[in-house]
């Protein structure tokens, strides 16, 4: 006890937890990114490289050329769509981490159109693929929402586990019944024909999916701010208890929101197969659905923030490929992503501490 008292005397300051303290969100976000860069820099240095040229290469690879920029945009399309999907769920505190599986479900369903209706004209096949993609993603979301609403099953667990189900189903199709007979055993479906692929801009890989993403962002921003339903979501997110007092049925909202959330990830899956890979294949997503969680968190669910952060993370993926030329693994970008999320989440708690003088 004496020892304890002595220790206390020596420290002139103490950290007090103050839950009412307001956090400047944007400063915290910037600080989190800087911390993440610093920490990953240590690992890069441990690999025997100077981190600064690596970061420079990462930046120039992603944003330094028109090729890099369009590639970054291509990667940011699924991130933005999935990010929007999870954001709308996070708004009402439904922790959907199943965007990856919903993405896969959408990709599978969209591809099924090309398999079973191969000869449709473009004005039928693309809309049908969109509808199938959204419906399948939405259904995958519903599979999480129903147990959550009626049996209080934690959605974190179900949505995560359903990811594996969807990914394994995808593997089943591309290794099994849908495998391209002329594909030299490559685990993928036959290439889509022209009527099944999204139009692209000039000779870049930038496809119409970008327009989908932009339309959805605008819809999201508008809905949240200007509609009755968006108001209900804001209310539930701000104070679910009070929302109940206002006569809002929360369980119904959870169902609807999860369908939309999954549907957007499904749309992302559709636009990826139809716009980028032009076939369903093994390993179609480098983890878009998971990165989308970080995108949403970094954006604080704000629509403009979502656009910015999905662009940055798209760049991180593309830049990750270009660091490979320096002899580093591209997983450097995964590490950065993880570190950013880590510091972001930590900042929510750490930011609530105050430094106080000991009296």
């Amino acid at each position: 006890m004496k020892e304890l008292a002595a220790k206390r005397m020596r420290l002139p300051y103490r950290l007090d937890y103050d839950p009412s303290k307001k956090i400047n969100v944007w400063w915290m976000t910037i600080a989190s990114v800087l911390f993440a860069l610093a920490i990953c820099g240590i690992f890069i240095a441990a690999n025997g490289m100077n981190p600064f040229p690596v970061y420079k290469k990462l930046l120039s690879g992603a944003f330094g050329s028109s090729f890099g920029l369009t590639e970054t945009l291509v990667k940011s399309i699924p991130l933005l769509l999935c990010g929007l999907g999870v954001s709308i769920a996070y708004r009402i505190s439904v922790w959907n981490i199943g965007a990856e599986g919903q993405f896969a479900a959408g990709a599978i369903a969209a591809t099924s159109v090309t398999i079973y209706f191969p000869d449709l004209p473009i004005y039928l096949s693309i809309p049908l693929m969109i509808v199938f993609g959204i419906a399948a993603g939405g259904f995958w979301g519903l599979l999480t929402a129903i147990p959550r609403t009626y049996f209080q099953v934690n959605e974190l667990i179900t949505s995560l586990m359903l990811n594996y189900v969807a990914l394994l189903a995808l593997n089943y199709f591309v290794f099994g019944p849908w495998k391209d007979p002329k594909g030299f055993n490559f685990p993928g479906t036959p290439m889509f024909n022209e009527a099944q692929t999204l139009p692209v801009l000039g000779d870049t890989r930038l496809h119409l999916g970008l327009l989908f993403a932009i339309v959805v962002v605008l819809l999201y921003a508008f809905t949240i701010r200007y509609t009755r339903w968006g108001y209900e979501l804001r209310l539930i997110g701000a104070n679910a208890e009070a929302a109940k007092n206002a006569g809002i049925r929360i369980s119904r909202h959870i169902l609807i929101v999860m369908v939309i959330s999954g549907g957007l990830a499904g749309l992302a899956g559709m636009s990826e197969v139809s716009g980028v890979t032009h076939r369903l294949m093994y390993g179609i997503s480098p983890g878009y659905g998971y990165t989308a969680i970080i995108v949403a968190w970094l954006a604080k669910l704000n629509p403009i923030g979502l656009v910015v952060s999905s662009f940055l993370f798209g760049g991180l993926i593309v830049g990750g490929y270009s660091v490979q030329t320096l002899g580093l693994p591209s997983s450097i970008s995964n590490m950065l992503q993880g570190a950013i999320l880590f510091f972001l989440i930590a900042s929510d708690t750490i930011g609530k501490f105050r430094l106080r003088r000991n009296d």
Binding site: L235, N239, G247
Partner: protein, 511 residues
């Protein structure tokens, strides 16, 4: 009887912001006694105990423990000084076993089944058997009942060898059987020379188990007596106070027709307990009906069932000539029932949203506020502006998150929202809790204006002064039923106090 003083708190003051939670309070307890600290909710008894257990620090005043002057900076300090507290919400790790919870913090790591752990389990089992506090030591907390969890908390304090055990409202989570078991244990602990402080607002318990009783009211210590020298009746009087507040001047009104009629209502709570038990009441047009009672006698459930939040098991609710069939908040809102809930920031307002969004709560579905699913943004802002001016809500602008407003302005905002809809009935639960005098006066004026315009108010409050000042008719709720009723003219503190303590039977008063 020993008379060694184990804890002495003198001239304790505690301020939260501008609110004085404890004002110059003196309190002491002796070794080998069960000392009950009695008072209504918000009387300051929990605050006192939290200072003793290191959760809060007093703004001023001295604490002496076992004869030494001490500063208690943290719960850890308190434990080292021999103070253990059993909180209302237990501090247990759900996935660890009972024994692990008790030894938590003692060793940096241990594994289940190690010799050390088995020895500890034996030791803990020994304590628990000795004091009649049985629980399975090797089961994880989440598998145990609330009663068992409380026993673990008590054993935790005993295991650490504290001399002073504080129990905060210990019986609020227990069944009657468990409660009497707990009292047997407390008596046994007393015999061991422990000091036991028990905060409660239940008079029957106090008389059953305490040796001495201290009564607090509104942050002050009113009285300390030996149990043998007092009675339930006297304690009820002390608890509600003697000073008579003059009722507010109000124009006499003719009794209107019946607006709300509740008949034989049963509402179930957790553990199959009845929160409301055969409750009947009537509210007429143009009157304020005050519901007085000690906290936890069904007030919260009454408000919730009437505002459509809680289903009922049996009975009938007729509002404005129409029978309510199922619990539906939306129906309640649309039929003209307003609800000012108990805790405005918890269930009345959305703190992080702005003024406009908070005003829209109950009217965003109306034609004036939204069209075809779209909010009428411009017109809603103008409408909010008029409400803010009309109800004199002081806010920097219409988008300021309401958590940044003062308590009084938050409450004004809430009332603005509820009153502008011109409800037929307003259910106001503790509407002035935590407000200063000026804001309280403002709320009282709003309620009387509502009544004078022919609307009705059901005022549910633990503040008896408020009930006496405002009500045309006063009902007393006890154990989920209305036990007494009196008109404003015949209201009498003494009688209300007795009703609140459950001393009179409604049979006597039946008309």
């Amino acid at each position: 009887m020993t008379t060694s003083v184990s804890v002495e708190m003198s001239r304790i003051c505690k301020k939260f912001g501008k609110v004085m939670a404890n004002d110059q309070v003196d309190f002491s307890a002796n070794a080998g006694e069960i000392h009950a600290l009695l008072g209504e909710n918000g009387a300051g008894k929990s605050t006192m105990m939290c200072m003793l257990s290191g959760v809060y620090r007093p703004t001023s005043g001295d604490i002496r423990l076992f004869g030494k002057s001490v500063k208690i900076r943290s719960p850890k300090d308190a434990a080292q000084l021999g103070v253990g507290m059993v909180f209302q919400n237990f501090r247990l790790v759900q996935t660890l076993t009972a024994a692990e919870n008790i030894v938590l913090g003692e060793k940096s790591s241990f594994w289940r089944g190690s010799k050390w752990m088995r020895d500890k389990q034996e030791e803990i089992r020994g304590i628990s058997e000795k004091f009649g506090l049985p629980f399975p030591v090797d089961r994880p907390i989440w598998q145990l009942s609330v009663g068992e969890q409380q026993r673990i908390e008590i054993v935790k304090t005993l295991y650490r060898g504290v001399g002073l055990i504080i129990l905060d409202e210990p019986t609020s989570v227990l069944t009657p059987g468990e409660a009497s078991q707990l009292f047997d244990t407390l008596v046994q602990l007393k015999a061991e020379g422990k000091t036991i402080i028990l905060t409660t607002h239940k008079l029957k318990e106090v008389m059953a188990v305490a040796d001495r009783i201290s009564v607090m009211r509104k942050g002050r210590m009113i009285h300390t007596v030996d149990k043998s020298a007092t009675s339930e009746r006297e304690l009820a009087q002390i608890m509600v106070g003697k000073e008579m507040t003059p009722p507010r001047e109000m124009a006499k009104r003719q009794k209107g027709k019946s607006l709300l009629s509740v008949q034989h209502l049963d509402v179930l709570a957790e553990l199959g307990r009845k929160a409301l038990d055969n409750l009947s009441l009537e509210v007429h047009e143009g009157e304020i009906v005050g519901v007085a009672g000690v906290a936890g006698n069904g007030q919260k459930e009454l408000a919730e069932v009437l505002s459509g939040l809680l289903p009922w098991k049996r009975g009938k609710i007729v509002f404005n000539g129409q029978e309510m069939r199922t619990a539906s908040v939306r129906n309640a809102i649309e039929s003209g029932i307003s609800h000012v809930p108990e805790n405005r920031m918890k269930s009345g307002l959305a703190g992080s949203l702005g003024v406009v969004d908070n005003l829209l709560f109950k009217s965003y579905r109306t034609k004036e506020r939204s069209l075809l699913g779209f909010l009428r943004i411009g017109s809603n802002r103008r409408w909010s502006q008029t409400l803010v001016e009309q109800f004199d809500v002081k806010t920097p602008d219409l988008d300021t998150p309401v958590q940044q407003l003062s308590g009084g302005n938050q409450q004004k905002l809430l009332f603005a929202r509820e009153i502008h809809r011109e409800p037929l009935l307003m259910i106001a639960v503790h509407p002035t809790q935590g407000l200063d005098i000026g804001a309280t006066e403002g709320v009282h004026r709003l309620l009387t204006n509502l009544r004078n315009s022919g609307k009705s108010v059901l005022l549910i409050s633990e503040d008896l002064d408020e009930v006496l000042q405002l009500s045309d008719r006063i009902l007393v709720i006890y154990n989920g039923g209305i036990i007494g009723e009196m008109a404003r003219e015949e209201a009498d503190r003494e009688r209300i106090g007795e009703y609140m303590a459950g001393l009179r039977d409604s049979g006597e008063e039946a008309v």
